[in-house]
């Protein structure tokens, strides 16, 4: 870099122009949400479930399981406005009047869940006339791009910034930097800082994982063989789901004969299930950390000419339809996409100076045989998520790919 003096001159000039850093100086260590990768608590005999995930945090686990039975506050017909155990935080400092310029840094729209959510958010924005400008940048699943996106957005005169982080740890510095300039609302995955005004998400992965596992413990006779299908390792949301299920299975009389990663690939899922069916003669229950490949798993049993055992899915349309059509023994824990509406609502509250929950926990219903009909909407596309909370939004169902 010391190639020429002219370069040095330029550098000096630039220094004079102002040396700046987009990195905040304060380092926050406190973690928020269920994300700190530390501590492993439950040491139980490995019943085919392997070691506990390093993502497992006992306190968060306990809190989430407790939250499942708590009554959420807020309008019952609008779960996206409800909050469980809200600890309100003051936002008077952010109050402003007039038009709102809302910004959103999106991790990606690269899967159906995010697609549905993204449509929810856009529809929610359109409900509010005071939002005159809505700037959204898509990081296309790239951490580095999202960091730049957040930096760029903070310079665009946003009144509030919504962030859906691509990964937890790595987006933290960028969010910290943004916090110093605008009120920040984080949802879905968390960040390792409490600088955002509010962090919104449903109860969480432990509850999701436990819901499914408890269902199997209830439906599958003792000694039954369980196959656990996971998408991929290392994603906190998914790790917590499995770790909670593991706790449940370890305490049960069920035998987990395999824990496999499917990459979310239907064909691979089908192959894995077929292999297990072949090897073990039969499988008595299937647990999954996400429902996108549930139908493929069901089909593997069908193709082998076997009855479909109790199975855990998610609130995806194709699974619900299959469940209904074939009268399966199933349960669908959810990670509702209606959470994409909440950040917009929160942003407006913050800008009005109304207090919001510091940690905004949304209810996380599970779909059971009893309430299946309530959630199964005909004419929605196969990869639609039932808990979108979008039925009353403008443009439904066409914008979500459904037929009127």
């Amino acid at each position: 870099m010391r190639r020429s003096t002219s370069l040095a001159v330029v550098a000096v000039a630039l220094l004079a122009a102002g040396c700046a850093s987009d990195k905040p100086t304060a380092t926050v260590t406190a973690s928020q949400g269920a994300t700190a990768p530390q501590a492993s608590a439950t040491e139980s005999p490995a019943a085919g479930t392997g070691e506990q995930s390093k993502f497992f945090v006992q306190a968060d686990y306990d809190a989430q399981l407790a939250m499942r039975t708590k009554q959420a506050q807020g309008p019952a017909d609008k779960p996206w406005e409800q909050a469980i155990d809200p600890q309100m935080t003051d936002t008077a400092g952010y109050k402003k009047s007039g038009d709102v310029h809302l910004c959103f840094s999106n991790a990606a729209v690269n899967n159906p869940w995010r697609q549905v959510g993204w449509k929810n958010m856009q529809a929610e924005v359109s409900l509010h006339k005071e939002i005159t400008k809505f700037t959204a940048l898509d990081a296309e699943g790239k951490d580095d791009k999202q960091i730049s996106d957040i930096a760029e957005l903070t310079g665009k005169g946003c009144d509030a910034l919504i962030v859906s982080p691509n990964t937890t740890a790595t987006l933290t510095p960028a969010v910290e930097a943004a916090c110093q300039k605008v009120p920040v609302i984080v949802f879905d995955r968390g960040v390792e800082t409490d600088c955002p005004v509010t962090f919104i998400n449903p109860i969480g992965g432990y509850a999701f994982g436990a819901d499914g596992a408890e269902f199997l413990v209830e439906k599958v006779p003792a000694g039954g063989k369980i196959l656990a299908l996971r998408i991929l390792p290392g994603v906190d949301v998914l790790e917590t789901r499995w770790s909670a299920a593991k706790v449940t299975f370890d305490k049960s009389q069920l035998e987990v004969v395999g824990v496999e990663f499917t990459d979310g690939d239907a064909a691979k899922t089908k192959n894995i299930v077929s292999d297990y069916v072949q090897r073990h003669g039969k499988i008595d229950g299937v647990w999954m950390d996400a429902g996108a490949t549930a139908v493929a798993a069901i089909e593997a049993f069908e193709d082998a000419g076997l009855p479909v055992p109790p199975i855990v899915g998610e609130d995806q349309q194709d699974f619900l339809q299959k469940w209904k059509d074939n009268n399966l023994t199933a349960v669908a824990p959810t990670y509702p996409t209606y959470q994409w509406r909440t950040p917009v609502i929160a942003a407006l509250k913050i800008l009005k100076g109304e207090e919001v929950p510091k940690t905004w926990k949304l209810p996380q219903p599970k779909i059971t045989a009893e309430n299946l009909d309530q959630y199964l909407k005909p004419n929605m596309p196969p990869l639609h998520y039932a808990l979108c909370g979008c039925e009353t939004l403008p443009g439904f169902p066409a914008n979500w790919g459904g037929k009127g």
Binding site: M1, R3, A11, L14, L15, A17, G18, C19, A20, S21, D22, K23, T25, T27, P37, S53, K54, F55, A108, V109, T135, A136, L137, D138, E140, G141, K142, D143, D144, K145, I147, S148, D149, A151, E152, L153, T154, G155, K156, N166, T167, T168, A169, T170, L171, T172, P173, A177, P233, G234, V235, D236, E239
Partner: protein, 317 residues
């Protein structure tokens, strides 16, 4: 007189100039469409920040492609080095982390080069195989972001001097270094020779295997530097940062966009810098227009193919 000069100038214009002209055109377009917002500090900084990592990888990829090879393993190597660096820096040892990451890169480059030259495995397969090998190691050892880089090291990713981020300076430094290697050193001359015709180079007394190995080491080193930069940006190492960023195919795309021939022997660093900037400015323009990311992919695909088609036309005429 001046007409003749202009005429011969346009005739002699190489691909590098073409890509910079295109870059200029997109900038003008951006200024017209986006006005002040497009020329704002944040946008300018954003373009640089977004392109720095890809830029550094693409410079390395330029070397490999010029030598008639290519490297698909850069993406996973970036992930690996980001993790190595962040884990070693967790104790505050920045120098150790940097050294560790670069050492890993050199090793991977050596293996790539050796497999290609000594075992005569096509670079496509050799580096695809290396990708799988590293991916397996990553999956085995890591299940999420790991390590933590100290604040001092994060300055690399976040500090800037006026409108110029340190990361962009790093990119410029790497580009200059490689430009220097290519145009001023024997190694550079030989990279062009090997890429131009490996038999001719060999018969002329060039140790061609060694040249290919060196370019792969340098290419991997660039990936390692990009991994360091990303570790500093992310504050940690991440096992998917490289593949999520698509640095493998995108770096190749940027290189050919800059006019370097995929077959080797022709092209250079300047074109690659232009190619990366063009992609980044296009991205900014898309951001500004809030274009759907799917549409971006379509445009990117068309731009890359069209650019290469244009270069081929120009060479023929």
């Amino acid at each position: 007189m001046s007409e003749r000069v202009l005429g011969s100038l346009s005739l002699r214009m190489g691909p590098a100039q073409v890509v910079f002209l295109a870059l200029l055109a997109v900038l003008v377009l951006g200024a017209i469409v986006g006005g002040a917002e497009f020329m704002s500090m944040e946008t300018v900084v954003g373009i640089q920040q977004r392109s720095a990592a890809l830029g550094i990888v693409a410079i390395g990829q330029t070397l490999a492609i010029l030598a008639g090879s290519l490297d698909l393993s850069v993406a996973v190597l970036i992930s690996l080095t980001s993790l190595v660096a962040a884990e070693m820096m967790e104790s505050g040892n920045v120098a150790g982390g940097v050294a560790g990451a670069l050492a890993v890169s050199v090793l991977v480059g050596l293996v790539n080069g050796a497999v290609i030259t000594k075992f005569k495995v096509h670079a496509f397969i050799a580096t695809l195989g290396m990708t799988l090998v590293i991916k397996g190691v990553l999956d085995h050892l890591y299940d999420g972001p790991a390590g933590r880089v100290p604040d001092s090291f994060q300055r690399l990713g976040y500090d800037r001097i006026g409108p110029i981020p340190v990361s962009a300076l790093l990119w410029a430094g790497v580009a200059l270094a490689v430009w220097f290697i290519l145009t001023r050193t024997r190694t550079g001359y030989r990279i062009y020779a090997v890429g131009g015709d490996v038999e001719v180079a060999r018969l002329s007394g060039v140790r061609t295997d060694r040249v290919v190995i060196i370019t792969h080491v340098l290419c991997s080193l660039c990936a390692g530097i990009a991994g360091l930069l990303l570790a500093s940006r992310l504050g940690a190492g991440a096992p998917t940062v490289g593949t999520d960023g698509g640095y493998d195919l995108e770096s190749i795309a940027a290189v050919v966009l800059g006019g370097t021939a995929l077959a080797g022997g022709r092209g250079g660093v300047a074109g690659t810098v232009g190619g990366v900037l063009l992609l980044a400015v296009l991205d900014s323009l898309f951001n500004l227009l809030e274009v759907n990311s799917f549409f971006k992919d379509v445009v990117r695909g068309v731009v890359i193919v069209a650019a290469v088609a244009v270069y081929v036309r120009r060479r023929k005429s």
